[in-house]
Symmetry: C6
Subunit: 76 residues, 6 copies
Amino acid sequence: MSEQWLTSLITKTPQEGYELAIKLSRMGVKYTQPSDAVRSKLRPDYSENSENLIASSQVIATNFQTVSAANNYWRD
Amino acid sequence: MSEQWLTSLITKTPQEGYELAIKLSRMGVKYTQPSDAVRSKLRPDYSENSENLIASSQVIATNFQTVSAANNYWRD
Amino acid sequence: MSEQWLTSLITKTPQEGYELAIKLSRMGVKYTQPSDAVRSKLRPDYSENSENLIASSQVIATNFQTVSAANNYWRD
Amino acid sequence: MSEQWLTSLITKTPQEGYELAIKLSRMGVKYTQPSDAVRSKLRPDYSENSENLIASSQVIATNFQTVSAANNYWRD
Amino acid sequence: MSEQWLTSLITKTPQEGYELAIKLSRMGVKYTQPSDAVRSKLRPDYSENSENLIASSQVIATNFQTVSAANNYWRD
Amino acid sequence: MSEQWLTSLITKTPQEGYELAIKLSRMGVKYTQPSDAVRSKLRPDYSENSENLIASSQVIATNFQTVSAANNYWRD
C-alpha cells in the first residue's frame, strides 16, 4: 500500500489508542480485500451479525494490547 | 466518537479492572455497529447463544490482560 | 455487579491460579448473561459440545496467562 | 477439584513444557465437563474433525506461551 | 521451504511492521497449502467472506504484536 | 510421546523460528490425533478450506510469538 496511514503507535490518551486499534483492525481487512465496492457490499454482514461483531471486538482487543504496550499503558 | 469514555486504564481493584475490560469489549461492538436499535435487536443472539457467550468471554479475557498489565496486576 | 467476587489475582499455588482463571472465564459469561435461568438452560450446549468445550478451554488459557503473570509464575 | 494435578509450571525441557501445555488444555475441558463418560463420547468429535483439531492446537499454543514464559524459555 | 523470505523482524516504520505482519500471516497459509493453484482457487473465499476477512485481520493483529515488540514499538 | 522432538526454542534466524512455530502447531494436532492414517484422511480439510487455513495461520502466529520472545526477536 503506497498510502501512508501509520506513522506511530503513540497516542495522547487511552481512548485515542483504542481508536487506533480499531483503525489497525480495519486495515487488516482492507489489505486482504482492497476493493471498496466489495467491502461495502459485505458491511451488513459485519455490523448486523452478532458473531462477526464479537469477532471484530476480538481483533480490536488484540490490537489494543499492542497499542497499550507501546504507550506504556499511558501510566507515565 | 466524540464522547469521552476512556481516560485511564488504572483501576482501584481487580474487579473494577475486570469491569473495565467488559466495557472495552462492548465498545468494540459499539464502534463497529453504532446503532443502538440494531444492537438491541441483536442482543438475544449474544446473550442466549452459548457460542457467542463464550466468544464474548474471550474478548473480555483479552482486554483483561491489557488492563491487568496496566495496573501491574494490582500487586503494588 | 454489586457483589464482590475478585479482590486479588494472587494465589498460593498454580492450581489455585488455574481455578481462578476458570472463575474469571465464567464471570465473563455471567456478566453478559446475568440470568441464572437462561445460563442453566444453555449449560448442555457448553458442556456437551466439543467445539464449545475447546472454546471454553481457550478462554481459560487466556485468563491463566494473566493470573500466571500476576503471580510471577509462582517462581518466587 | 480436590485432586492435586498442578504444583509447578517449571519443567526440565521445552518438550516437557509443551506436554504440560497439553495437560493444561485438557484440564480446561475437564473442569467444564467433569463427566468421563460424556467426554469419552465426544472424543471422536475432537480428534476426527479438522476444525476442532486446529482449535485444540490453538489452546495448546496459548498455554505453551504461559509455560514457556514461566521457564524463561529454557534459556538459562 | 528453501526460499529465504524472512531475515529480520526489524522494520523502519510501524507501517512496514504492519505489512511484515501481513506477510507472516500469508506465509502461514502458504506453508499449510503450498500449491499456488489451490490457494488461487480459494482466494474468493478469503476476500469476499466477512467471517474470513475478520479472521485474517485477527492473524495479522497477532503477528503485529510480535513485530511491534521486536521493534520496541518504534519508540526508540 | 516418547520420541524427542523439541530440545530448544532457540533458532539461528527468524525464518527458522517461524518454521519451528509451524512444527509446534502441527505437534498440537498430532498429540490430539496420534493416528497418521486419520490425520492423512483429514488433510484436505485443512489445506483446501479457507477457514481452516486461516485458523492454522493463527496457531502458527501464536507459536511464533513464543519462539520470537525466546530468541529475543533475533535482535542480539
